[in-house]
């Protein structure tokens, strides 16, 4: 227990100090990692704990991104309003998808969520007046508030905002997953009939898991849109959903901090692959993914935990 507090504190210190030690572009990349970690945490909740699969979380990232873009650009709302609204919009859509998911299992659910992922970018192109069509929506880059302007760069400020939100969402997830809610989700996953016999309402908890994870994906989408200062339909294709899922699996679906590792992997592994061989970057990326799954079938976080358990 105290070890957990210690490592969390050490990690927090690293996150806080890092922007002062590294170049601005690296800070920018780590902001992406924070946002990806939030989206992947949503998948840890949904897939890892409630045992339902989603190949379509990129859709919620897209909806979150567009919600925030429209609210900021067309309505002139602040981050403080538009990011929570993106979370709520995606949460409600997630609950709706969760209600459909109740009737579908395993491969059928995978296919249905896959269809969702595939439908987002054509839909965004179709409703031009709201979404800007294929051109998307441009936004001004995030700017630090007046009082902080001379203390830190805009990148550093938004990095802190992203990781601050991530810390809050991780804390909520920690509280939820380690208590009654998490126990109920895992009970349904392990044996639905026993869970029901012991008072767990599967309809409620399964839908809750979908809404909760979609809300996280929505926040991630909002942050990604703001830091990129741009949303366009083709960013939110099937590839994004699959990348998030790959990040969740490689990080480790059973452990919350696997989401941070997953975020690091999906941000930096493609860049590393590019460095190895620019022409074959996706092949290198694919081979690296296969290697991770072969040698660490429970994800990187799971493998590290096992390694620690073996040593003690």
């Amino acid at each position: 227990m105290s070890l957990r507090i210690l490592t969390t504190a050490a990690f927090a210190v690293v996150v806080i100090v890092l922007p002062w030690l590294i170049p601005g572009f690296f800070t920018f990349q780590l902001t992406y990692v924070g946002a990806y970690a939030i989206a992947i945490l949503g998948l840890v909740i949904l897939i890892g704990n409630s045992g339902q699969i989603s190949l379509g979380h990129g859709a919620f990232v897209g909806v979150g991104g567009y919600t925030v873009a429209v609210l900021l650009q067309s309505l002139g709302l602040s981050y403080a309003f538009s990011i929570p609204i993106a979370a709520i919009v995606c949460g409600v859509l997630g609950i709706a998808l969760g209600a459909v998911a109740l009737r579908l299992e395993r491969v059928y659910l995978a296919l249905a969520t896959f269809a969702l992922a595939a439908s987002v970018s054509p839909l965004l192109k179709r409703f031009k007046h709201l979404t800007g069509g294929v051109q998307g929506i441009s936004m001004p880059s995030p700017r630090a508030p007046q009082t902080l302007q001379h203390v830190m760069s805009n990148e550093t400020w938004f990095y802190y905002l992203t990781w601050g939100i991530a810390a809050l969402l991780f804390a909520i997830a920690f509280k939820g997953l380690h208590g009654h809610v998490g126990r109920s989700l895992r009970a349904i996953r392990d044996s639905e009939i026993a869970a029901v016999a012991f008072g767990v309402n599967p309809v409620f908890y399964k839908t809750l898991a979908f809404g909760w994870s979609a809300a996280y994906a929505g926040v991630a989408g909002a942050l990604l849109a703001i830091v990129t200062a741009y949303v366009s339909p083709d960013v939110y294709g099937i590839a994004l959903s699959l990348t998030l899922l790959a990040g969740a699996v490689m990080g480790g679906l059973d452990l919350m901090w696997g989401a941070v590792i997953g975020g690091l992997v999906i941000e930096f592994l493609p860049l590393w692959a590019q460095g190895i061989n620019p022409a074959l970057s996706s092949v290198v990326y694919g081979i690296a993914e296969v290697a991770i799954m072969m040698f660490m079938p429970v994800g990187i976080a799971g493998a590290l935990t096992r390694f620690k358990a073996l040593r003690s």
Partner: protein, 237 residues
């Protein structure tokens, strides 16, 4: 109502069909409070189906189930445990990836302290934090028992508690079940094939055969009943 002047559980004319086969056909029985009632019958008699109707996992085509004076035929399955009915499963249904303590805590009325108390009761405190799937078979059966007891049941349904047990373990199990009835003042309805156990501890026995009730009475009268003997020796019902 039965002769003992009251029933905690009453099934009236239960009928349920699976694809044309009547798994239960017009089955009526009562369970008296504080008694250990055995539900026996050859394979396929409808015993577990009966349990699944009581716990609302199955919706009978017709008939009513009254528990504690309330018709529970429309109660949602996840609300049954609140009414005071808890069960164990024929093929263990534990939450495999979760710790022993977490398993018992799902449904525990009094949260973690209550769950710990029940683990203590079945002698599993030492392994409370181990993943349940790492336990041997017998211990896992006890986790199921602790999980059911932690809900403070007024009616405990045991689905083949002796399955997979040897002679001596069955002796101990019989003592345990009687001890549970005393310590928790609970009523017990038990599906069991193991006649040594059934005859040893049951106050009353209900015999099902091919979805119909064949007999109902105290162990001695059931043992003498020619129809029951015939059914068990393969003579059909």
């Amino acid at each position: 109502m039965n002769a003992d002047g009251g029933s905690i559980l009453s099934a009236q004319n239960l009928t349920i069909r699976f694809g044309g086969i009547a798994a239960l056909a017009d089955v009526t029985f009562d369970v008296a409070p504080g008694q250990i009632t055995g539900l026996i019958g050859p394979n396929g008699a409808g015993k577990t189906t009966c349990f699944n109707c009581i716990t609302r996992l199955y919706q009978p085509a017709s008939g009513t189930i009254t528990f504690n004076g309330e018709d529970i035929s429309r109660v949602p399955p996840h609300k049954v445990v609140e009414r005071g009915i808890a069960r164990t499963f024929q093929n263990l249904e534990l939450f495999g990836s979760m710790s022993v303590l977490d398993n018992v805590q799902v449904g525990a009325r009094g949260g973690a302290p209550q769950a710990r108390e029940m683990l203590d009761y079945v002698g599993l405190s030492e392994v409370a934090n181990r993943p349940v799937r790492s336990l041997p078979f017998g211990a896992r059966k006890n986790v199921e028992l602790a999980r059911a007891l932690a809900t403070k049941p007024r009616l405990l349904l045991l689905d083949e508690p002796a399955a997979g047990f040897g002679y001596e373990e069955i002796e101990v199990l019989g003592q345990t079940i009687k001890r549970i009835r005393r310590d928790f003042s609970t009523t017990i309805l038990m599906v069991e094939h193991q006649m040594q156990l059934v005859m040893g501890i049951c106050d009353r026995i209900i015999v099902l055969c091919s979805g119909k009730k064949l007999a109902d009475g105290d162990p001695a009268s059931i043992a003498r009943n020619p129809e029951v003997v015939d059914a068990y020796l393969g003579g059909g019902c």
